[in-house]
């Protein structure tokens, strides 16, 4: 059952919903004030841990745990950095928060800064999101005027400054260490880890990098209390707590973003939120959370006959009928990612879909390390040849080889982000690739749209 909630989205459909007055009329900034005036940072981190907020950026790392890694440095300041470089194909959730509820971000920044001992928060916004930046700047201005951020927020001697930093339109800058390099004015290339940002982050100082949605939900966590927040989720038992934004796009009738308690199934998202597949076609496959997550087919089922297996309750069920969470998705052989589901309808071409994604990854690879720089481009050129009808069976065989050799051999997760969808498409749709090689299909007939 879908459980709609309205914490982040409560004002989404109201006029001028981004204004401070509206935000405050629904309890805005009361949590920041309460935290700063009556709580210790340990108490805040404790609540954050209890809330089981899994990072909303795709990796699903527990937010409270990440905050607890921050140790004050003897001479250096600490920083909070928000990753709003939302650029993954099929992902469009953070943008709605920035545009429609920017004050939740600012309030979240105040609380998170306090929790990790930072006085400055940088919001790294993807360059193309001009409205998002304008709304954030507006919100920061309003909050400053009211004295909610600045030298002494709410009269408390704990300075909090929030800055918006514009990216330059590179997908790789969504990788947290590439983001930090970009923030520092350097070339947007991922750094070697360790050291992790909590030790050496922005400008060489201890830094927490959180997804923007992760921080935006923080005021809700504090308002409800960590445990109560976590229990809103259908996956509380999987330590995957609370509510989050889900998105549906692709070949569905009503694409969009919706706030739900964690744990809807793919079928619920596609049919209840998305209104079903365009032209009432069958589902070819779904990308569960952004283009880097391996595709799922409706015919796939959960195989967990062992009663001790955490997924045993779903044994034999279609993966489209299993609650979608960070850990459950992992057991399905994919990733939850940003949980913006992209649906491909039957009749569209998975080879063309893979070609589309590979174009993206080839274009966005920073080129720092060998397997990603060369492998991504090789994948694209191979698929391109296959689509053009010049491919051979050797080319088809090469695809899984190239992707397998990129897997895990790169500096950052971009390599896996390219290899995983490639392996997904070639592993699950090989016969489509072979059809092009055998000349049974032509590129001119391939479609990615439902007429």
């Amino acid at each position: 059952m879908l459980q709609r909630t309205s914490y982040l989205t409560t004002n989404y459909d109201k006029p001028e919903c981004w204004a401070l007055s509206l935000y405050e009329s629904t309890g805005g900034y009361t949590q920041a004030k309460r935290v700063l005036t009556s709580m210790t940072k340990e108490q805040v981190i404790d609540e954050a841990k209890k809330a089981n907020v899994r990072g909303r950026g795709g990796a699903g790392f527990p937010m409270g745990l990440k905050w607890s890694f921050m140790r004050p440095h003897a001479t250096k300041p600490s920083y909070l950095v928000l990753n709003a470089d939302e650029g993954e194909p099929g992902t469009h959730k953070d943008r709605t928060i920035m545009e429609l509820n920017p004050h939740s971000v600012v309030e979240g920044c105040i609380i998170a800064c306090f929790a990790i001992g930072a006085h400055v928060a940088y919001i790294y916004v993807r360059d193309e999101l001009h409205l998002s930046k304008a709304r954030l700047w507006g919100a920061i201005e309003e909050a400053k005027k009211k004295g909610y951020i600045g030298l002494a927020p709410f009269g408390v001697d704990y300075e909090v400054q929030v800055h918006v930093h514009t990216g330059a339109g590179a997908y790789i800058c969504g990788e947290e260490t590439a983001l930090l390099n970009s923030l520092e004015g350097k070339r947007g290339e991922p750094r070697l880890k360790p050291p992790f940002p909590a030790q050496v982050g922005a400008f060489g100082c201890p830094t927490t990098v959180n997804n923007l949605e992760t921080i935006a939900i923080v005021p809700t966590v504090m308002a409800l209390g960590g445990e109560a927040f976590s229990k809103l989720s259908g996956l509380h038992a999987f330590n995957d707590g609370g509510v989050r934004l889900y998105g549906v796009n692709g070949h569905v009738k009503t694409p969009g973003v919706i706030e739900l308690a964690c744990g809807p199934t793919l079928n619920e998202l596609i049919f209840d939120v998305g209104g079903g597949v365009l032209g009432d076609r069958k589902i070819l496959c779904a990308i569960p959370g952004g283009s880097s997550t391996p595709i799922l087919l409706p015919s796939e089922t959960i195989n967990a006959p062992d009663p001790a297996h955490p997924m045993h309750a779903f044994h034999g069920k279609s993966v489209f009928d299993v609650p979608l969470g960070v850990d459950t998705a992992r057991h399905m052989g994919t990733m939850l990612g940003t949980c913006c589901v992209t649906v491909l309808a039957e009749g569209t071409c998975p080879v063309l879909a893979m070609h589309n994604l590979m174009q993206f990854y080839r274009h966005e690879s920073c080129g720092q390390c060998t397997p990603c720089r060369e492998g991504g481009s090789w994948l694209l050129r191979t698929v391109d040849r296959i689509l053009d009808g010049h491919g051979t069976m050797e080319d088809v065989n090469n695809l899984s080889d190239i992707a397998s050799n990129m897997m895990g051999n790169t500096i950052c997760a971009f390599g896996e982000g390219t290899a995983m969808p490639a392996l997904g498409f070639i592993g699950k749709f090989r016969e489509h690739f072979e059809a092009y090689v055998r000349g049974e299909r032509r590129r001119a007939d391939a479609r990615l749209t439902v007429a």
Binding site: A170, I172, R187, L192, G333, R362, H363, E364, S365, C366, G367, Q368, C369, T370, P371, R373, E374, G375, G376, S377, W378, R381, T382, R385, E394, N397, N398, S400, D401, A403, S404, N405, M407, G408, N409, T410, I411, E416, A419, L423, I426, G427, R430
Partner: protein, 526 residues
């Protein structure tokens, strides 16, 4: 010392060392392109990936990949361990590392090698790096496969002039960033950077700049492939025709350890390269130093001259007898050279003190010049400390000129190799009745044509010892056969001694070296 296990070997390491560095010290190379022991870690080539056994109680991180099984007609899922870059991972006690013994590592190396060659032009026949190229070496070791990509490779700028000394070929480049890091970290001039993304990446010089300075040649030497070449060596020789000899740079008092590459077929030098010595020059050298190889062939003195006329060795020696015979010993002076080897200086000093019996010992050398705090020393003499050690009370040039002007010294035996020395000697030449001049280089004194000139071997033609700024005695080995009539200075001095009626008792290098007041392990205080 703590140990770790690499394949089947137990290897000791210094705490804080990376796997690749510890393995290198132990004599086991882990293949790599981007790692350089003198530069920061980039970990971008991914050639040095190794498998590290998880610590007890921890599970290895596994990755899901697919293999196509042609007989099954289906994909077979496979799990492989996540490999780690050995240039980045710091060794810990008891760590178990698999390099050559892991099939996953073998597979990864082969694939990295394949990725790197994907868009490489494979223009080895016209590439200067061929024969000393990591891409070639590792392809023989880890590749030996045919090309699987049949598309046109990516084309990028070729023969880009980075500056007056360096040419860049972006198609050959493997983007290891060693050149960028060298200019940034060692040369302290971050003039190189990378532009574009993905496989369109290329190295560039900062806008408005050229690759200039005193360390531009080094970018060629840190480049593991043929992307960066020096204009000086470009298209001059194939490296397999060259024979490498250990030498010492004569450019300044730093005494950088070098490799001198010579073509034995034509007895000429082609290149001077840095040789690793952590105590002296680490892995580096300056441009000026590397260009000194030219002095082995250019501007040489190769004939005996008497009053400007080319003569035989015998004639020259007879002239010595004629002009020096009967001179009171105390009227003879000798001029030592801060640029000549310890052997030559010692021989001349021995002749003066033991045989002739004069106390007029002077020394000279090149004037001070440019210095930095990287390698280049202001003292442009390779052996000033050597002369100081042999003759601590030798008088300087000013006193020599006074002695000559006052008629105290009427005969002079001069050892000099450098034009600066020669200019000094030229000043004196007009005032001296007779001078014996031992030189490897042509200079104003030689052309003045007043004295007796004996051509001697330059630093590349005879083994010689030089004491650098820190008092370290180092040997430049013989790399070339002497040109023309040149012979080692100490040998010529022995003959001059004989002409003057003395028997020196040395005829071999070993005999001279055995009498030197230093051994190669000697460090002499400055």
């Amino acid at each position: 010392m703590p140990t770790f296990k690499l394949d089947d070997r137990e290897i000791t390491f210094n705490p804080g060392e990376t796997i690749i560095a510890a393995a290198r010290t132990a004599g086991q190379e882990i293949p790599h392109y981007c790692w350089h022991p003198g530069l920061s870690v980039a970990a971008n080539c991914r050639m040095c990936l190794v498998e590290i056994e998880p610590a007890p109680g921890q599970r290895a991180m596994m990755l899901d990949v697919l293999d196509w099984d042609a007989t099954l007609g289906d994909y077979v899922p496979r799990r492989k361990p996540k490999l780690q870059p050995s240039c980045q991972i710091v060794v810990t006690e008891g760590m178990v590392v698999r390099s050559n013994s892991s099939p996953h590592v073998t597979e990864a190396r082969k694939s990295v090698q394949e990725f790197l060659l994907l868009n490489h032009p494979v223009d080895c026949p016209i590439c200067d790096q061929a024969g000393e190229c990591k891409l070639q070496d590792y392809w023989m070791e880890h590749g030996q496969f045919g090309k699987r990509m049949h598309d046109e490779p990516v084309h990028k700028p070729k023969a880009v002039e980075f500056g007056p000394t360096i040419v860049y070929d972006a198609e050959r480049c493997v983007m290891c960033t060693r050149c960028i890091r060298f200019m940034d970290e060692v040369a302290k001039d971050p003039v190189l950077e990378m532009r574009e993304r993905g496989n369109l990446n290329e190295i560039m010089v900062a806008p408005g700049r050229e690759l200039t300075g005193h360390y531009t040649f080094m970018v060629d030497h840190v480049c593991p492939v043929g992307a960066l070449t020096t204009k000086d060596f470009r298209f001059k020789s194939r490296v397999w025709f060259l024979k490498t000899h250990d030498s010492i740079c004569q450019g300044c008092a730093t005494g950088c350890n070098t490799h001198l590459d010579v073509d034995p077929r034509e007895n000429s030098a082609y290149r001077l390269r840095p040789r690793e010595n952590m105590a002296v020059n680490k892995f580096w050298m300056c441009d000026e130093g590397m260009m000194t190889y030219r002095a082995t062939s250019e501007g040489r003195t190769v004939d005996h001259l008497v009053s400007g006329q080319v003569v035989t060795s015998d004639t020259a020696l007879k002239e010595v007898q004629a002009r020096f015979g009967g001179t009171p010993p105390n009227e003879i002076g000798i001029l030592l050279s801060s640029q000549a080897s310890l052997e030559d200086n010692w021989a001349l000093l021995e002749l003066a003190r033991t045989h002739i019996g004069t106390k007029h010992v002077f020394f000279t050398g090149a004037a001070n010049g440019y210095a930095d705090d990287i390698l280049i020393h202001a003292d442009k003499n390779s052996n000033r400390n050597g002369v100081k050690l042999l003759a601590p009370h030798a008088k300087d040039l000013h006193e020599l000129i006074q002695s000559v002007a006052g008629g105290v010294v009427t005969r002079l035996i001069v050892l000099a190799n450098d034009a600066d020395d020669a200019a000094v000697a030229a000043k004196l030449a007009g005032r001296l009745d007779t001078t014996i001049y031992l030189s490897s280089a042509s200079n104003p004194f030689v052309s003045e044509g007043r004295g007796i000139v004996f051509p001697i071997c330059g630093w590349a033609e005879a083994s010689g010892t030089y004491i650098n700024q820190h008092g370290t005695a180092q040997v430049a080995k013989k790399a070339l056969e002497p040109r023309g009539s040149a012979r080692p200075g100490w040998e010529v001095i022995s003959k001059i001694a004989a002409a003057l009626g003395f028997t020196t008792g040395w005829t071999k290098l070993k005999e001279v070296r055995g009498k030197l007041p230093v051994t190669m392990s000697t460090t002499v205080a400055e």
